[in-house]
Symmetry: C2
Subunit: 375 residues, 2 copies
């Protein structure tokens, strides 16, 4: 079995799924204008559009403009405040708690990450827990904000409950992603960005569109039996924590997702576990929420708070080069470094454009019509 390069997969995807291709600038303008129409300031609309499109550029289609209508619906439902007063409500030399004032997570997150970076400048590291926010797009985009400052960046968020703990039938956690971005010298940075589940919800959506089953180990049915039904979440099923089952370490994925939930929402005063607010605006809010909105957690560590930055980056280059040269398994050209596939996608899509599924393009066209915007 030969691994396909990204470009090849890209064109194969075009053949299988009917798509339309748009330039980055075109989608940016459409997204920026949409955020302006719901009342965002110029600055917030720019930050939000840039954050949302970072997902499309990096090949994480489930988290990009495909979600724009979802954000607008949350605004219509009064769950997103388009002109929030985002502020620091508590701080120490290396920490802060930020209240997002129910703003777009896409706007709250960069504010909080910038706060972490500012703290790190003075104290060596900065750690910011955020409450009263909403979905923030892809975690990696925020973690990467630290890189130009020669800092390690971290970002995580809780999310609406779709994941059952090991040995449970109940959805208690979100897909709760973790991103860690580490600067290098001449090598591109190390950027890990992953859901703490075996497979993210976006992967199920792709299979649903193609009418295909999931592999065993991604989901369970409402009685915690193994399932391969890509639509199982609509039937009270659940996503499985990274590790799939107890024998393969699902208790570790469950622990990771829990840590993200606690750092993001229990530390900040957000709403945690099964009480995390749902993304679809038609789903009622949970009752008796123990905190406000979604929670996020951000970290920034100056590498020269540990050793000289040039020395660190030299060793990161060595680390990356050595791992990339690890002996590949048969049928694979090389071992990948976290961040390689997304960077390759970004390079290709900046040049060749961003493919949107026909259904996504139609949805955006309809959204635009409401606001007098043409996709």
């Amino acid at each position: 079995m030969r691994r396909r390069g990204f470009g090849e997969t890209f064109y194969l995807a075009l053949k299988i799924n009917p798509v339309q291709v748009f330039s980055y600038d075109h989608l940016y303008t459409f997204t920026y204008n949409t955020f302006r129409k719901i009342g965002c300031s110029q600055e917030h609309a720019d930050t939000a559009a840039t954050g949302l499109l970072a997902a499309d550029l990096r090949g994480i289609d489930s988290h990009g403009v495909a979600r724009l209508t979802g954000y607008v619906r949350l605004w219509e439902a009064g769950r997103i405040n388009a002109s929030p007063d985002i502020r620091i409500v508590h701080e120490t030399p290396s920490t802060a708690v930020v209240d997002g004032d129910a703003g777009l997570g896409l706007v709250v997150a960069p504010f909080a990450m910038q706060t972490a970076i500012g703290k790190a400048r003075n104290a060596g590291t900065g750690w910011v827990s955020v409450r009263n926010s909403n979905h923030f797009g892809i975690a990696g985009h925020h973690a990467m904000m630290a890189l130009p400052y020669d800092m390690i960046g971290m970002a995580m968020t809780n999310a609406s409950a779709l994941v059952a703990p090991t040995f449970s039938t109940e959805r208690m956690l979100g897909t709760n992603p973790i991103a860690v971005a580490i600067p290098a010298g001449s090598q591109p940075p190390f950027v890990a960005d992953f859901a703490t589940t075996t497979a993210a919800n976006g992967k199920l959506e792709i299979l649903q569109r193609k009418n295909e089953d999931t592999p065993l180990g991604w989901v369970q049915d409402k009685e915690a039996n193994p399932s391969t039904d890509a639509n199982i979440l609509k039937k009270q099923g659940a996503l499985l924590p990274l590790g799939s089952d107890r024998e393969h370490g699902s208790h570790k994925g469950y622990a990771l997702g829990s840590i993200v939930d606690i750092f993001s929402a229990v530390l900040s005063g957000g709403s945690y576990g099964p009480w995390a607010p749902p993304f679809p605006a038609y789903v009622p809010m949970p009752e008796n929420m123990p905190g406000q909105g979604l929670g996020h957690f951000f970290g920034a560590m100056r590498v020269d708070a540990f050793r000289p930055a040039e020395e660190f980056k030299h060793h990161m280059d060595n680390w990356i080069t050595r791992f990339r040269a690890a002996k590949p398994a048969e049928g694979h050209e090389k071992v990948l470094i976290p961040g390689d596939p997304e960077r390759e996608a970004e390079q290709a899509r900046k040049k060749e454009g961003i493919p949107l599924a026909d259904s996504v393009a139609a949805d955006l066209t309809q959204l635009g019509a409401r606001f007098g915007l043409v996709l």
Copy 2:
């Protein structure tokens, strides 16, 4: 399928594997005296014995006194310095780098964790990267040091390379564990402590003793084919990252293990990736090591650097109670919170003693004979 309680498993284990049971105090004294015999100070011998036995108490038999002979062999080989000058070589308000002077990791780690706690007291959080150390026992023991201070504790370490990255045949990473300890109020603390592999090496050793196969998804052979051979590490095989294979998220386990390696050894100046020093003293040291010794990484975050401690602990109690009450799958009494099984083990073993496999007891008896100590 009914889940067995810990006590039941304990006695079942007694039946299957011939063991001898020792009191905690007895094993502590033997271990303390052994560390004294190789030249540790009273204080260091106490710290090391307490750390090593924490593994036996908490049911992680692979990391406890079963390894005492291994530590002594490293000392004999000149790889462990029994009277190290452990010191801070660089610091900022929230960070430090510690040089372990080739000391026992069991002694270096508490020094570094205490440094992190001290930093957190002043700056809100403390982060310490350690070089020139050795194996430190179980990560959870060190992370838990933060709990009495109402702090969240974190501990991780790199280790000798036994794990192949996704799509590789080469061992590049250790089992690189992560521990996170979070204080609660009336509930016991949340304590996650796990290798970033599907299964830790200790689990293979148990199967080897019983002459049994591993489940699929734990290991691969030297050509990266799936394997169930519990002895595959002796045949150039490798452990698999958490997730087992690409389809089930092994790239996430690979990323996690890499993050632990980089935070522990690239930040500090330790020896990373395939150059991490091996635990068995008979395995030659890697050539061209890019740093000194094993690396660790510790963190401490004052919870009141985010919100009042009582408020945080009240919500942790709520979090724990809610998750413990999640609907269990059929055949399971309740959903576990990370740390539950180890706490249950600790309670049982404090009362009933610590079982050692006959082979481990024989090995310790032989070790004791060299030093005039009776097991």
